[in-house]
């Protein structure tokens, strides 16, 4: 079984999932709850389909474009040789979407 998963592979899977879930939509307060859920579920199911020996944590932030400042940071205590993360930033005219994927090897 291939034990490695590159950042690029992960980023590609995530970008596709985000496009499929919210691509082409404008920010709508009533739907954003459903969108974040659908983005994380899509990403997670595509990642688990890769069949690699990893546990995954996927987080998604959707923010309306309104001039506000947003900052996110993560710190991780894990095995540097086997575990990793990747962040994907996506945007359209009315919103920003940030997805973080953390993969911990089993």
């Amino acid at each position: 079984m291939d034990e490695y998963q590159t950042e690029d592979e992960t980023a590609f899977v995530v970008e596709e999932s985000v496009e499929a879930a919210i691509g082409g939509n404008a920010y709508q307060h009533s739907r954003v709850n459903q969108w974040t859920t659908s983005v994380v579920e899509q990403c997670l199911s595509q990642l688990s389909k890769l069949g690699k020996p990893f546990k995954y944590i996927v987080t998604c932030i959707i923010m309306q474009k309104n001039g506000a400042g947003l900052q996110t940071a993560s710190a991780c205590f894990w095995d540097n040789t086997t575990d990793g993360s990747c962040a994907v930033r996506w945007e359209n005219k009315s919103m920003y979407c940030i997805v973080n994927v953390f993969g911990l090897s089993i």
Partner: protein, 115 residues
């Protein structure tokens, strides 16, 4: 959620983590207003301090601490997490904090290590 015995070290305690993260946040940004030039430093400090406290507990876990700080300006913000892990041993907790000008959301994920 089931109650675990206090002597069981291999189970993540969301309550303990919540308390320690709240203290970290208060210590770093309690009483300050949103400041664009400092926010980078704040998020880094919050995640580092939270992680250090968690690791000091000496439990057999790998940790991920995520912090988001947003200026209060009427924009909508939504976050979601999804995890593919062993639900018997792994866990997470999320702490939401705010003051007059800042929203702060910190998530802690703990994944059990099999030694």
């Amino acid at each position: 959620m089931e109650e675990y015995s206090s002597g069981d070290e291999a189970v993540f305690s969301a309550d303990d983590a919540t308390i320690s993260v709240k203290e970290c946040i208060e210590g770093v940004i309690g009483g300050t207003d949103y400041n664009q030039s400092k926010v980078n430093q704040w998020t880094a400090t919050i995640v580092e301090h939270s992680l250090t406290h968690l690791v000091k507990q000496g439990r057999p876990f790998k940790y991920i601490v995520n912090c988001t700080i947003m200026q209060k300006s009427g924009a909508g913000l939504h976050t979601a997490n999804s995890c593919y892990w062993d639900t018997a041993t792994d866990g997470s907790c999320t702490v939401r904090w705010e003051n007059r000008t800042i929203y702060c959301v910190v998530s802690v994920f703990a994944v059990a290590v099999t030694l």
